[in-house]
C-alpha cells in the first residue's frame, strides 16, 4: 500500500496555495506535514480527503485493489480535522456508536476505542460536558472505530495534555505497525519513532520554478527517499 500525492496544485479563492507538490507515503509509515501558519497544511489534508478538488495533479492510493483515487479513495480515509464532529446533545459512547454504525463496527470496538483514549468513565455522560481536550479525544476515537487504512489528522494534539498527546502518538504508532498510513499536519513534535517529514513553504509566486517544471517542490525535511517525484504521472484517470 502506498499513498501518492502527485504534483498537486491547490487554489482557494483565486490564491495559489500549493503548487506542484509531490510526496509519497508507503504503508506502515506516518508523514508529518510541517510549515508555518497558512502554508497549506490543512489544505493538503483536505485535498487528500477530496473536500477540495485539486486544480491539477491527483492523489492515489496504491494497494491490493489497484490504484484508488477520487471518490473511490474516500472510503479508505479517516479524517480528524479541526472540528470533532461531536454532538453535545448525545452521550459520549452514543456519539461514537453512531460513527461505528457508519462503518459497521460493533459496540465492543466502541468500548475499546473509548478505553484507548481514556474516556471510558465518561461513556454515559452527555458529550456536551466534555472539555475541549476530551472532545478532541472523542473525535480521535472515531479514527479507531472507522477501520480505515489511511488516517489524516490535522493538529491532533492541539488542546491535549502531555499524557493524552503521548497516547495519541501511541495510537498512530499502533496504526502504522498494522500496515496503516498516517498523514499528520502538526507543528508540535509528536515523538513518533520514524516518521517521514514534509515541510511546506508558503507559496511565493515570484520564486523561479524548480527544474523539472514543478512550480514548488517540497523542501524535504530530512534526506528522504520517499519525497522524490514520480515519473508515472498520468497512468490512471
Amino acid at each position: 500500500m502506498e499513498l501518492r500525492i502527485e504534483s498537486i496544485t491547490a487554489r482557494r479563492g483565486g490564491r495559489t496555495i500549493l503548487a506542484g507538490l509531490t510526496a509519497s507515503v508507503p504503508g506502515g509509515r506516518a508523514l508529518i506535514v510541517t510549515g508555518p501558519n497558512g502554508a497549506g497544511k490543512s489544505t493538503l489534508l483536505r485535498m487528500i480527503a477530496g473536500f477540495l478538488p485539486p486544480v491539477s495533479g491527483r492523489v492515489v492510493l496504491h494497494g491490493d485493489e489497484g490504484p484508488l483515487g477520487g471518490s473511490a479513495l474516500q472510503p479508505r480515509l479517516a479524517y480528524a480535522g479541526h472540528l470533532d464532529a461531536v454532538k453535545p446533545a448525545l452521550g459520549v459512547a452514543q456519539n461514537l456508536m453512531l460513527w461505528a454504525g457508519l462503518s459497521g463496527t460493533g459496540s465492543a470496538e466502541v468500548d475499546r476505542a473509548l478505553a484507548a483514549v481514556s474516556l471510558e468513565t465518561m461513556a454515559s455522560r452527555p458529550a456536551g460536558e466534555c472539555s475541549a481536550g476530551q472532545r478532541r479525544r472523542l473525535g480521535l476515537a472515531r479514527l479507531l472505530v472507522s477501520k480505515r487504512p489511511v488516517w489524516m489528522m490535522d493538529e491532533p494534539t492541539a488542546s491535549l495534555d502531555r499524557a493524552s498527546a503521548e497516547a495519541v502518538s501511541a495510537l498512530v504508532e499502533t496504526h502504522c505497525e498494522g500496515g496503516g498510513i498516517a498523514v499528520i499536519a502538526t507543528h508540535l513534535d509528536m515523538g513518533l519513532r520514524d516518521p517521514l517529514s514534509l515541510e511546506i513553504a508558503p507559496f511565493d509566486p515570484d520564486r523561479p520554478a524548480a527544474p523539472g517544471g514543478d512550480g514548488m517542490s517540497p523542501r524535504p525535511g530530512a534526506e528522504d527517499p520517499f519525497l522524490a517525484g514520480h515519473d508515472d504521472a498520468g497512468a490512471f484517470r
Binding site: 482557494r12 480515509l77 479524517y79 470533532d84 457508519l102 505497525e177 496503516g180
Partner: protein
C-alpha cells in the same frame, strides 16, 4: 493508557463487492437513526414542526372568523400552507448543524455516496415533520369543519406530497449550509418551489369536497415528489460539496 487493540494487528476493512452494498445500506440506516435520535433530543426540533403546524392551523379561525361555511371552504388551504411553513421551520438546520461541527466532512467519507447520504437525511427530516403532520391533520380538518368525505383525500395528498417539501427543502438547506443565520434565506429560496405541491395538494382536497374525481391532482402531487426524489439529492449533494471547499 492501553493501546487501541490487544488482539494483534488491527484489520482494515476491504469489503468484497457484494458486501459493499450491504455496508452502504447499514451506513444509511445509521444516518437515519442518528438524525432521529438528534431530532428527539431537547432542541433537536423534532416536535417543534408538529407543534407549529397545530398552532398555525388553530390560529387562523381567530383571524378569519368562526363561520363554519367559511372555514370549510378554506380548510384545505389552511392545512397545506401550515404544512409548508412547518416543514420549513426545521429545514435550515438540516445540513447547517452538521457543517458547523464537522459532521459533514465525516459524512463525505462515509461508505455511501453523498447523494445517498442526502437522501437518508431527508428521509429522517420527513419522518420527523411530514409524517407526524399528516397523521395529525385529520383532527385539525375536523376542527375546521372539512367535510368528512374530503379527509381521506387530504391524508392521501399529504402523505404523497410532504416528501416533496423535505426533498426540495434539502436543496435550499444545502445551498445555505455554510451561511450563518441562513434560515430566512432558505425560506426565500424554497417557498416558491413549494407552489406546485401546494396547488395540486389543495386541489385534491377541493375536488373531493366538490365531488369531482380527485385522483388526477393526487397523482400530480405524487409526481412532484417523485421528480424531487430524483433531482433533489443530486442538486443538494453538489451544493454540499461546494460548501466544503
Amino acid at each position: 493508557m492501553p493501546g487501541p487493540s490487544d488482539d494483534g494487528a488491527p484489520g482494515f476493512e476491504t469489503p468484497a463487492k457484494p458486501g459493499v452494498r450491504l455496508q452502504m445500506i447499514a451506513a444509511l440506516v445509521a444516518i437515519i437513526r442518528r438524525d432521529l435520535a438528534l431530532a428527539l433530543r431537547l432542541g433537536g426540533g423534532g416536535a417543534v414542526g408538529l407543534a407549529f403546524f397545530v398552532l398555525a392551523v388553530v390560529l387562523i379561525p381567530f383571524g378569519v372568523g368562526r363561520e363554519p361555511e367559511t372555514l370549510a371552504r378554506i380548510a384545505a388551504g389552511i392545512v397545506w400552507v401550515s404544512a409548508l411553513l412547518a416543514a420549513l421551520l426545521s429545514l435550515d438546520r438540516l445540513f447547517q448543524a452538521d457543517a458547523e461541527d464537522g459532521t459533514l466532512e465525516q459524512l463525505m467519507l462515509a461508505d455511501a455516496p453523498l447523494e445517498a447520504v442526502v437522501m437518508a437525511k431527508t428521509a429522517a427530516h420527513w419522518l420527523t415533520t411530514g409524517l407526524p403532520i399528516t397523521l395529525v391533520a385529520p383532527l385539525l380538518a375536523v376542527m375546521l369543519n372539512m367535510p368528512g368525505a374530503s379527509i381521506p383525500a387530504m391524508m392521501a395528498a399529504m402523505l404523497v406530497g410532504t416528501p416533496a417539501l423535505s426533498l426540495t427543502g434539502a436543496v435550499g438547506a444545502a445551498l445555505t449550509a455554510g451561511i450563518r443565520r441562513g434560515g430566512l434565506l432558505v425560506s426565500i429560496l424554497v417557498l416558491p418551489l413549494y407552489v406546485p405541491t401546494l396547488i395540486f395538494g389543495a386541489r385534491t382536497v377541493e375536488n373531493a369536497t366538490l365531488g369531482l374525481p380527485w385522483a388526477p391532482p393526487l397523482l400530480l402531487t405524487a409526481g412532484i415528489s417523485l421528480g424531487a426524489a430524483a433531482l433533489a439529492p443530486v442538486a443538494a449533494a453538489y451544493a454540499l460539496r461546494i460548501t466544503l471547499r
